[in-house]
Amino acid sequence: MTNPVIENIRRSLGRTDLTPLSLRPAIYEPRHPESVDSEIARFLDEIKKLSGVGQELSPSDIDSSLKTLVAEQNIRKATVWETPHLKQLGITEILNSLGVDLVSPNADKHEVALCDLGITEADYLLAETGTLVLKSSTEKPRAVSLLPRIHLAIVRPEMLRADMHQVFAEAKDGNYLVFITGPSRTADIELTVTLGVHGPKNLHVWMTDT
């Protein structure tokens, strides 16, 4: 099947439908990972440079850290990815005990939009840029990292990848992927940096050991 646009391109380039594809130029070497500890430090440092809050936590500290976050940020409603790891950490139970209303992450968009806090994991992390990489599925809905004013990602060192090459090699066959590098930002009014213009204003990343 042909169409006029493809035909115009071929005519301009002097090609036919039988002209074979030439070889694509080679790509450079990806970045090499450093030690896990230095990659974690680099990752958290980049998050901080992006005006996010990044910290290392042991799973037993999650309870108290959530309590602090809920109190400091006046959180009343939250929505949480329904992944095995977050269930295992008992996130929803802790939030319940703190008196936070829970909204299903698959609820109507108007409902999820009312949440103050969205909690996710990440599928991959890029230390070089302080980037969270999130896939999408029924258990991991896209709106949780987007609609609430605070996004908390609870992540683990094994999610770290040295460069996007590895992330792409593992994730390119999915239907959706998002790189999140810091909180939502703009400088559109007199170049004043403003956080949280459409996406979350606050980004918290907790690196936990398993």
Binding site: K109, L146, T181
Partner: protein
């Protein structure tokens, strides 16, 4: 806009009437971006290597564009998306309106897109009774103000916070404060409602990955994610030049783009969208449409020098360093894309008739080519387009009159052939006595009077070769 209908772009006239507030605001923005870019580039020792690879891959993609676009279409369809081919801007508008009509769409949210600016989609939607709202903060402001963008990355940079507050107060019927952070908060609230209630989201795209049929969108505010996550329908209008072969190639462009544009390592949000959602609970659109826009691009491919413009990844770095752009701002370029890249794209896309002044909107200083992340030889293309304007091409008649061109052709012939040059040099002094006045030729006949009207010409001497020979002999003889 097609080539024969675009209004004439009077760059010279526009630039004479630029209010001083515009260069002031534009230079604040450009100096910040130039500094940010320089800092990011300095961190990356392999920057020059990345630029070269980026340039090579873009070249390769242009030369094989038909193959990659065919693969892209196949993959988008396999992922459950719809592909529409738009040969002209008119086709693209018709396709988008048709999708909107079939789905009974009344409200559209848009993320920033050069392609939809190019086809002037908002007017078409509004004329069909559909509200089309720009949601990037800067674009939202200029849409309320009813003006065009003054900078590719910060479109409303020419407006002061007091002006924006007055605009919000008037258009939104509120009492808006003059604090930028408060103004952004107001926009967030107003637009949040629109995102949640719109039936259709329209976006552009930064890249299209042929390998898997994936749309790549790079944004900072999150409005791009909103437009492609909240409504049930997502329509992306993307130029055919945005195709890249595969994900491996994309790593190069993602590393080049944000660093060149805003001095960030990566923009806040980079989305990779392959078809519609697969389950209702994950959010995202039920239907995904990709409109592939040609609108003159395939014609540009015919010109082996000019077509390098299609390597562009729209970072705006060339504008940020351009001494002309920094003093006139974006409006003067009279089109959806400004700065040096606009000066080489508009004449090729809108025609050398409407945009004939733009190749001259440059000092040819070459700063743009030095910073271009994909090494587009912008000054070379500017000179090439000046030639097309002067000599005429398929779109326009020559700007230089026949006698002048004949004289110039004669001169180039003479300068290229040694014997003609020498003969001319011997013959020309014969005319000296007729025009000589106080050792100057002050009043030559047409067409040389174009020179002598403004300044006198020294008499023809035919002594250069002699002088040169004597001079070089003297130099070799003289002691050091």
């Amino acid at each position: 806009m097609s080539q024969d209908t675009h209004p004439y772009i009077g760059f010279e006239e526009y630039s004479e009437h630029v209010p001083p507030s515009i260069p002031l605001a534009v230079q604040q923005a450009t100096s910040r971006f130039v500094g940010g870019r320089a800092a990011r580039v300095a961190e990356l020792p392999q920057w020059e290597q990345l630029r070269q690879i980026g340039s090579d891959i873009r070249q390769h993609t242009i030369e094989n564009m038909d193959v990659y676009l065919t693969l892209l279409e196949e993959k988008v369809v396999a992922a459950g998306g719809h592909v529409h081919w738009a040969e002209t801007a008119e086709d693209a508008r018709r396709i988008v309106l048709q999708i909107a009509k079939e789905n009974n769409v009344k409200n559209v949210v848009k993320s920033k897109s050069m392609a939809t600016e190019e086809i002037e989609l908002n007017h078409a939607l509004e004329a069909a009774g559909i509200e089309a709202l720009e949601t990037d903060l800067g674009e939202y402001i200029i849409q309320l103000a009813g003006t065009g963008p003054s900078h590719i990355i910060v479109p409303a940079v020419h407006l002061k916070k007091e002006e924006i507050a007055a605009l919000f107060s008037e258009k939104l019927d509120i009492d808006a404060p003059t604090d930028p952070i408060e103004l952004a908060r107001i926009a967030r609230e107003v637009l949040r409602e629109k995102f949640l209630n719109a039936e259709m989201g329209i976006s552009g795209g930064n890249f299209l990955i042929a390998e898997t049929g994936t749309l790549v969108m790079v944004t900072n505010e999150g409005n791009g994610r909103m437009c492609t996550t909240m409504p049930d329908l997502h329509v992306a209008v993307v130029g055919i030049d945005k195709v890249v072969p595969d994900w491996e190639s994309l790593t190069v462009f993602l590393k080049l783009l944000a660093r060149s544009a805003t001095g960030q390592k990566l923009s806040t949000y980079t989305q990779f969208i392959t078809g519609p959602r697969r389950a209702e609970g994950e959010f995202g659109p039920k239907e995904f449409h990709l409109v592939l826009l040609d609108n003159g691009r395939s014609k540009i491919l015919k010109d082996p020098i000019g077509r390098d413009v299609l390597k562009c990844i729209r970072c705006g770095a060339c504008a940020n360093v351009c001494p002309v752009y920094k003093n006139v701002g974006g409006f003067a370029y009279g089109s959806f894309i400004s700065g040096p890249i606009g000066a080489i794209l508009s004449p090729q896309m809108l025609g050398t008739q409407a945009a004939r002044e733009l190749p001259y909107a440059s000092t040819l200083c070459g700063a743009c080519a030095d910073v271009c992340p994909v090494k587009i030889p912008i000054p070379t293309i500017l000179r090439h387009l000046r030639r097309r304007v002067a000599e005429g091409d398929a779109f326009a008649i020559p700007t230089i009159s026949t006698p002048i061109r004949a004289t110039a052709n004669l001169a180039s012939l003479a300068l290229a052939q040694n014997w003609i040059y020498r003969l001319g040099a011997r013959l020309l002094p014969i005319i000296n006595p007729f025009f000589r006045k106080n050792n100057w030729l002050s009043n030559m006949p047409y067409p040389l009077n174009r020179w002598t009207k403004v300044r006198p010409l020294p008499p023809f001497g035919a002594r250069f070769r002699k002088w040169w020979n004597v001079r070089s002999t003297k130099e070799t003889e003289s002691p050091r």
